[in-house]
Amino acid sequence: MKQDFKILGTRPMRPDGLDKVTGKALFGADKSATGMLHARILRSPHAHAEILSINTSKARALPGVKAVITGDDFADVDSRWTRYTMQNCMAQGRALYDGHAVAAVAAVSKKVAAAALELIEVDYKILPHVTDVDEAMQPGAPVLHEGVKGRGLGEDVSGNTVGYYSFGHGDIEAGFGAADEIIERSFKTAATHQGYIEPHACLADLGADGRGELWCSTQGHYMVRELCAEILHIDASQLRVTASEIGGGFGGKTTVFIEPVALKLSQISGKPVKLVMSREEVFRASGPTMSSSIEVKIGMTKAGKITAAHAKLRYQGGAFPYQMVMMGAMSAFAAYDLEHVQSEGWDVMTNRPKMISYRAPGAPMAVYGVESVIDELCQKLGLDPIDTRLLNAAREGTKSSYGPTFKAIGLVEALEAAKAHPHYSAPLAANTGRGIACGFWFNFGGQVSVSMAINADGTVNLIEGNPDIGGSRASISMMAAEALGIGYERIRTIVGDTASVGFSDVTDGSRVTFAVGIATIKAANAAIKEMCKRAAKIWEIDEDAVEWVDGAAQPTGHNAGNFPPMSLAEIAASSGKTGGPIAGHHEGAPDKAGVSFGVHLVDVEVDPETGFTSIKRYTAFQDVGKAIHPSYVEGQIQGGAVQGIGWALNEEYIYGEDGLLQNPGFLDYRIPVASDLPMIDPVIIEVPNPGHPYGVRGCGETAIVPPLAAVSNGVSRAIGKRMFALPMSPPRILKAI
């Protein structure tokens, strides 16, 4: 594995930076077209209702209205998973949650579109609803969809229970028998929203001939293309999707919500259609993550060795079948080397918006339960929480709780760094508690395409297919520069549209720097091979006698020929005469992404009279394999930690008895603001991933996993009472005190 880097580990400016600090960068809602219409969506005011009829005639008659659609305008599709996505975009037959789309209009102005919505008459028959996961699992609960109950599930759970998973090994009963202390606890966590600041937005233009253009804010424009092509029954080749700059996603933009609607309105009206969600719509109808109800039981010896561990996870994922609890069940005990372990999970439907991924989906709440119980055991047995975790920590060769045997991993290094950090030994003030927790995420590889052109002036253009959600164009340019041996500033990386470069999986799973990085290195190697070939031709020596060193071709030794190195720029300059343009490309599906562990340390102060919690100090340790651009790696760690802090303290979807969402706005859905926080101190640990030529691991998701438990453990220690539910809002803490 390469170790001596010239570019990796430096902190150059990102290529899209200037446009973003000057307001020039174009996000989803920033593009317009000549003759464009404005669309709006009518949404269900009920948690669950049969749609008896929709009368759109008055809306259609309003001057300026060019198209009105309902669920009837969408023909059925083959895949049931695509059907769920389609029916989430536009209800067919029943409205399944507060905010579910039931009709849409396109009109000459926003004002006319809004007026038209008021004229659509929907006749609803209200049906019983359920929004709580435990209630939804009870036999007799209102069932969202019949016939989708998970395989092998019995009569003890309702038809809302769409999946069951279990993982683990050993004999947990035997393990609990060997324990000196066993603690079993129940936890609840609220649904949270990804909370990206940019609402979903798109500009669609689809002709009657099935040729279309779509501009949208997404984590994956190929995913958008394929879903929309399937839903609209058009050819993928005919729909060109361009990813706008994306104003945050965190998993929430890994599906479609509005794009098929805008395309359908455009197809009917024959005009470009712009559709932008309001913030209220974002909360009511775009992907929150799951809420959960969790039981964790862990046995430990007096010395702190875990003898057995068992978790039961019940996740609520909204109004359609989904598969996500397995990610939590696999993550729950991943940090520990356990002989006897079992984790079980149930996916459950309710009358809430369809869940979608949120940064390490499924893991934070599972790990919250586990790390809470471990912390309580440490307190009860008088053990140091880091030493205890070190005693049980997973390391190279550990058979993980979800099956695979770990390769080189950095959990022990992260725990040791935490133990040695001044934060861990700093004195604590009154009413303050120090919490610690580990976290884990798998990280993925997946399909990727990169195309690289060497220009005659010695510069390089690179096209890749993954929307840049947090600076990846910079890290990809850096890896290209490192591989080619030229300066970072000589490379321009852009995110191509679906017609300009091959398929790429969604920007998710902390995969982009890893997977696009590998493809970039391979594309560079292909270009290098061609450049060596050109040099060999010029020198009239054998191609194999040329090697690439520091951005130049050179003979492999004196025997090969005595020529001074020929730089990339020189080879490029003559390329027109030596065989034409030089390029490199790579399409592949790299795997071996390499898991990542983090350890978070937090000091929280609780006001004993009000229950107000403030974060006084926060240090986050994470193994990232190799930090390409350390500033953006730090940013991922800091951002993930703060999202986790929000989840721990204040963020929650609040439903009333009526099944309606009570807080669809940033006023009462309380994400952390600048004044809520101290600096977040990131500590980068680099245990190289053997599966990547530069040692890269994904780093984006792990950081949201530990903070829920770290903050809860800190609060519990500060107030001397255990907390068992998130968010730990002030009324809840005060009640516990």
Binding site: R11, M13, R14, D16, G17, L18, K20, V21, T22, G23, K24, A25, L26, F27, A29, D30, S32, K110, K111, Q194, G195, Y196, I197, E198, P199, E245, I246, G247, G248, G249, F250, V276, S278, R279, I469, G470, G471, H629, S631, Y632, E634, G635, Q636, Q638, G639, G640, A641, V642, Q643, G665, F666, L667, I671, P672, V673, A674, S675, L677, M679, I680
Partner: protein, 160 residues
């Protein structure tokens, strides 16, 4: 209902437009004047992505009517910095990697510049409270605060 004719000054230039009485300044900037630097993250004054300066005050342009700025002076992110020189706040945001997705960045730039014009040496706490109305979901604010501190230090140095 007739539209209202407005003459105002935006980023130093005289601008005239017609707007509906109910249109916000943000709508006018984005939809009529093609100044899309100010973003609509919420439309209710909770996120600060639409921050602009109105007659020397930092405001959310989503909570200002297009019809009420007759004779005013407005500065948007497009008016911050010059072609050959970024404002120190902009430059330090870039140098400190104080953005990830960048959707909140225009609002942060406008708000932070306003702070430093009022207070050349703000404490960390003052910066955090001043920017509390500018939501950022990516960064955890750390690098933003550091960038503003660095810009403040540079600007103080430049004044000596």
């Amino acid at each position: 209902m007739s539209k209202i004719h407005i003459s105002t000054r935006i980023n130093g230039d005289e601008v005239e437009y017609l707007c509906e009485p109910s249109e916000t300044l943000l709508d006018v900037l984005r939809d009529r004047l093609n100044l899309t630097g100010a973003k609509e993250g919420c439309g209710t004054g909770d996120c600060g992505a639409c921050s602009v300066m109105l007659d020397g005050r930092l405001v959310c342009s989503c909570l200002v009517l297009g019809a009420e700025v007759e004779g005013s002076a407005i500065e948007t992110v497009e008016g911050v910095g010059t072609l050959d020189a970024l404002h120190p706040v902009q430059r330090h945001i870039l140098e400190h990697a104080a953005l990830q997705c960048g959707i909140c960045t225009p609002g942060i730039v406008v708000a932070a510049k306003a702070l430093l014009e009022k207070n050349a040496d703000p404490s960390e706490s003052e910066i955090r409270y001043w920017l509390a109305g500018n939501l950022c979901r990516c960064t955890g604010y750390d690098k933003i605060i550091r960038a503003v501190q660095a810009a403040a230090a540079e600007m103080r140095g430049a004044q000596i």
